[in-house]
């Protein structure tokens, strides 16, 4: 079995976000990026699903972060890592086109990716790409088991409800959470991978004309507009007193 995992580099929300000079994007100068946390869960689930003879292929767009994401994936146990080069992409629609080119060449049985990312303004990668490729897709998945050419998955709904589906492979799954906390790769192991293994490259061509919509503005919600700020503990204790909870 061949399992592909799509990885995306996204802004780290721990950092303060600022709008760029045009007002239509993020100011990326001081911005830190990291692997999309849901993609980390997708990778973990792939590694848990894979048996000894199965392949786990990590895929990422070239550019900033790709080496770190892909060597880390190898250090965690992925069998291959492919970097997509040759063209940049815009938005989910662009990413979907790029990834579908390499996935069509690789013909995988299962494609896992994070359920969503913090910047997927024009749709979620998994179900969008699946539809373009004519593959079935289930998103918001937190349990997967495989039996032959079928996957049995749990999709989460609101209020703690879940639905069980059976999906014919090849299929795409948007992972909400792996069944275990994503494993940690020590820096020494990642360094070792950088020295002993190589990233494969796949050249993508035209990734389309974009999402059909244009970003016309970025703005920060007015911070703290609603909340009355409290600066000392006595005031907070008084408030709780006033609410009748102490």
């Amino acid at each position: 079995m061949k399992i592909a995992v799509l990885l995306k580099w996204v802004p780290d929300l721990v950092e303060e976000l600022e709008v760029d000079d045009d007002g239509t994007g993020l100011d990326t100068e001081d911005l830190k990026f990291k692997l999309n946390e849901f993609d980390d869960h997708a990778l973990e689930e792939a590694l848990l699903l894979a048996g000894d003879d199965d392949e786990v292929i990590a895929l990422a767009m070239g550019g900033e972060g790709s080496e770190k994401m892909l060597f880390t994936a190898l250090a965690k146990g992925a069998t291959r890592a492919i970097r997509l080069t040759g063209s940049s992409t815009e938005g989910t629609t662009g990413l979907a086109t790029a990834f579908s080119q390499v996935l069509e060449a690789e013909s995988c049985d299962l494609i896992l990716t994070g359920v969503q990312s913090v910047d997927d303004r024009d749709g979620q990668l998994g179900p969008f790409m699946a539809s373009k490729m004519g593959l079935p897709c289930i998103s918001v998945v937190s349990e997967v088991s495989l039996s032959g050419q079928t996957a049995s998955v749990m999709k989460e709904y609101a209020g703690g409800m879940m639905a069980e589906f059976e999906v014919d492979l090849p299929a795409v799954l948007g992972i909400q959470a792996a069944r275990e906390t994503p494993r940690y790769a020590p820096v020494s192991k990642i360094r070792q991978m950088q020295q002993t293994s190589t990233l494969e490259e796949f050249s993508i061509t035209d990734t389309g004309t974009g999402s059909g919509s244009t970003v016309s503005g970025f703005s920060q919600p007015e911070g703290g507009s609603g909340a009355k700020m409290i600066s000392d503990i006595e005031e907070l204790a008084e408030l709780l007193n006033g609410l009748g909870v102490v």
């Binding site: 079935p136 289930i138 998103s139 639905a163 970003v215 911070g223 907070l236």
Partner: protein, 311 residues
């Protein structure tokens, strides 16, 4: 303007609140006729969809299936040619909006909190980056917009009426996805939807052991502990304690957040609490937009001092 198609979400035999929120939004836009698409036997409840001019009922199972529901939605779009298609930004919506937009080659705007109709085009506002940025997109119809729960008024979208009815057959699919069963949540030791006071811990708590400080405070306030999604994923808290999109919707008298930044997925589950006190060290955290009171400080310092003060 060729009108709006509202794709009505339901679960366990009832229209979800987001369905009425989308009807409220559609009603405010003035894009002409509003058609509502329902699935399976939900058309029997069409009387609740009074804002719609017409209800289109897709004859298919009541159980959501990405393939059949997408195919039915595509058929409804083809037969009514709407300018705006509203689909919920929910678990079901993800597997509906994306395939519909992809197969009809329509632009898709996700995580919408508001839509403006400019006559010639739409401006959709999306809440991105964990609620830390509002991003507006200009787009001409037809467009698929995914609407976030909790952004519009479900009560004003719920109106009795007698929309005209029509039926469409859900086109045949290749059956690669099969619905098996719906699973109710396992009851936890505490039903947080019934709690009067909740202390909700988020990622800012840092480690499983540190939840202790929240528990200590909870004991003093006679509160129950709730949490945001990341703590469940990390295995630190039970799913039955999770507030938000894939967890529970709560409305306690008092909701205190510790180290929760306030991603839209969480806010959707707690914003109707009577009083919200947010404690977070990041003054720009979106949680302060919904909180009534805020404390910008290290949560451990606040908790320790408060515990001391209360004791």
């Amino acid at each position: 303007m060729a009108g709006t198609l509202v794709v009505c979400e339901h679960l366990a035999g009832k229209f979800s609140d987001i369905t009425f929120e989308m009807l409220d939004l559609a009603n405010s836009l003035g894009t002409g006729e509003i058609n509502a698409l329902t699935f399976g036997s939900m058309a029997e409840n069409a009387g609740e969809l009074g804002i719609a001019n017409k209800v289109i009922s897709a004859s298919c199972s009541n159980d959501f299936n990405p393939e059949t529901y997408s195919a039915a939605t595509v058929a409804a779009i083809e037969s009514t040619s709407p300018d705006l298609i509203l689909i919920a930004s929910t678990s079901m919506g993800y597997d509906l909006a994306n395939p519909v937009a992809a197969s009809l080659d329509l632009p898709l705007v996700a995580y919408c909190t508001g839509i403006q109709n400019n006559g010639e085009d739409f401006v959709c506002t999306s809440s991105l980056y964990g609620g830390k940025m509002n991003v507006s997109s200009k787009v001409s119809g037809p467009v698929v917009a995914m609407v976030l729960s909790g952004t519009h008024d479900a009560d004003s979208g719920r109106r009795e009426g007698a929309p005209s009815m029509s039926e469409i057959a859900a086109p045949a699919t290749d059956g690669k996805i099969r619905f098996k069963r719906l699973i109710e949540p396992e009851p936890g030791d505490v039903d947080i939807t019934q709690s009067e006071i909740l202390i909700a811990v988020g990622r800012g708590i840092g480690s499983k052991d540190d939840i202790e400080v929240a528990e200590e405070l909870a004991e003093l306030l006679n509160a129950d502990i709730a949490c945001s999604r990341p703590l469940v994923d990390a295995g630190w808290m039970e799913k039955s304690r999770q507030v938000g999109k894939s967890g529970f919707k709560v409305k306690p008298k008092l909701y205190i957040t510790l180290g929760i930044s306030g991603a839209p997925e969480h806010i959707e589950g707690m914003k109707d609490s009577a009083t919200i006190i947010a404690i977070n060290s990041d003054e720009n955290a979106p949680i302060f937009d919904v909180a009534h009171y805020g404390v910008v400080e290290d949560l451990f310092e606040v908790c320790e001092e408060l515990i001391e003060e209360l004791e």
